[in-house]
Symmetry: C2
Subunit: 211 residues, 2 copies
C-alpha cells in the first residue's frame, strides 16, 4: 500500500508541475496577446507538450484562461496580505492610501513585465465563463473586499475623495492593472518603468490638472 500512495503522490506532483507550466504559459499569452488572439496550440508549444496532453488536464480554452486568472488573483491577494502584514508591523505608520498606491504600482509593474493577464472586456465569451467559475469569483470578491476596506478607511480619513462612490474607486484601481496608457508609454520606448509608474500613479491619484 505504501508504494502505491507514494507513486500516486509522485504522479500528482508531476501533474502539478505540468499544470503550473501551462498556467504560466497561458498567463504570459493572455498578458501579451489577449484571450481571443491566444491559441491553444501556442499554449501547448510554450508549455512543452502536445495539445492532446494539455486537454487531459484542462477541458477547454476557457478553463485555461480561468486558471490563469485565478493565479493572477492569488498573486494579487498575496501582495495585499504582504502589505497588511507590513502595516501591522509598522504600527500604524503606513496608511491605507499608501497601501492602495502600492497595490496599484505593483499591478502596473506586473503589466509592464508582461505578467498581468488582461481583464476580459465585457461581453466577451470569456467573461461569462469566468462569472460561472467559483474559484475565480471567490478570489475576485476576496480581493475586492480587502481593497474595499482600505478604500472606506481612506475616504473616512479624508485621504480619498469622499464624494466619489467607493465602487468607482475600486473599479478604477482594477482598470489601472490593464491600463492601455501604461503599454503605450512603454511602447514609445523613451521612458523608464519607474517614470511610467510615477506618472500614472500621479495621474490616477492626483489627477491630470495642476494642484
Amino acid at each position: 500500500m505504501e508504494p502505491m500512495t507514494a507513486r500516486a503522490s509522485i504522479r500528482q506532483q508531476l501533474q502539478r508541475v505540468r499544470e503550473e507550466a501551462i498556467v504560466v504559459a497561458v498567463n504570459r499569452l493572455l498578458a501579451t496577446k489577449g484571450y481571443d488572439a491566444m491559441t491553444v496550440d501556442e499554449v501547448a508549444a510554450e508549455a512543452g507538450m502536445a495539445k492532446a496532453s494539455l486537454y487531459k488536464l484542462f477541458t477547454s480554452k476557457e478553463e485555461l484562461a480561468g486558471a490563469a486568472m485565478v493565479a493572477a488573483l492569488e498573486r494579487a491577494l498575496d501582495f495585499v496580505d504582504g502589505l497588511r502584514a507590513e502595516a501591522a508591523r509598522s504600527d500604524g505608520a503606513i496608511d491605507s492610501l499608501s497601501q492602495l498606491k502600492a497595490v496599484t504600482r505593483w499591478a502596473m509593474l506586473s503589466q509592464l513585465e508582461g505578467e498581468m493577464p488582461a481583464l476580459p472586456s465585457q461581453n466577451s465569451s470569456l467573461s461569462a465563463s469566468l462569472q460561472a467559475n467559483d474559484a475565480y469569483m471567490d478570489k475576485l470578491i476576496a480581493l475586492s473586499n480587502k481593497l474595499g476596506i482600505w478604500i472606506a478607511d481612506a475616504q473616512a480619513r479624508g485621504k480619498l475623495n469622499p464624494a466619489l462612490p467607493a465602487e468607482l474607486l475600486l473599479y478604477t484601481l482594477f482598470a489601472r492593472a490593464c491600463d492601455p496608457v501604461v503599454g503605450m508609454l512603454k511602447a514609445s520606448g523613451q521612458y523608464t518603468n519607474k517614470q511610467i509608474l510615477d506618472w500614472v500613479e500621479s495621474a490616477t491619484f492626483n489627477g491630470l490638472a495642476a494642484r
Copy 2:
C-alpha cells in the same frame, strides 16, 4: 451623356447610403462587442443585405473596421472643431482645459450610448491594419495635433500638471473614450449618465485623492 451621368450619380448615392448603413452597423457592433467578437454575418444582417453584397463594397473585415474607426475620428474632429468655433465666438471666455474636459465628456457619453468603437488593444491583428490605413492615420494625427495644442496651452497656463509629459495626457484622454470603468458603472445600473460622467471627469482631472 447627361442621362448616363445622372444615372451614375444616382447609383453612387444609393451605394453611398448602403455604405453608410454598413458603417453604422459596424460602429455599433465594435462599440458593443469589439472587433474579434463581431462577425461579418452580423454586420450584413444589421445592415440589411447579404454578406456577398457587403463584400462588393468592402474587401475585408479589417477594412470594415477601418471605415468605422475613420467615421468615429471624423465625429471627434467635428466635435473638436465645433468647440474651437464656439471658443472663438466667446472671445477667450473658454479656456483650453474646459475644452479638453468637454471632449472627454463627449467621448464618454458616446461610449455610454454604444456609439464609440473600442480602441484596438495593442497587438491585435486589427491595429496593424489600421496603422497601414492612411485615412485612419491622417485623422488620428489630425485629432492628436488639435488636442495637443490644447494640452500644451493648458500646461503652459498651469491648468494641467506641467510635470506630466504631454504624451501621457493625450493617451489618457484617448483611453477615457473606452474606459471600462464607464461601462462597469453603467452596468451596475444604479447611476445616471450624468453622475457617471461627472465622477469619471472628476477622477480623471482632479484625481481619486481628496483635494
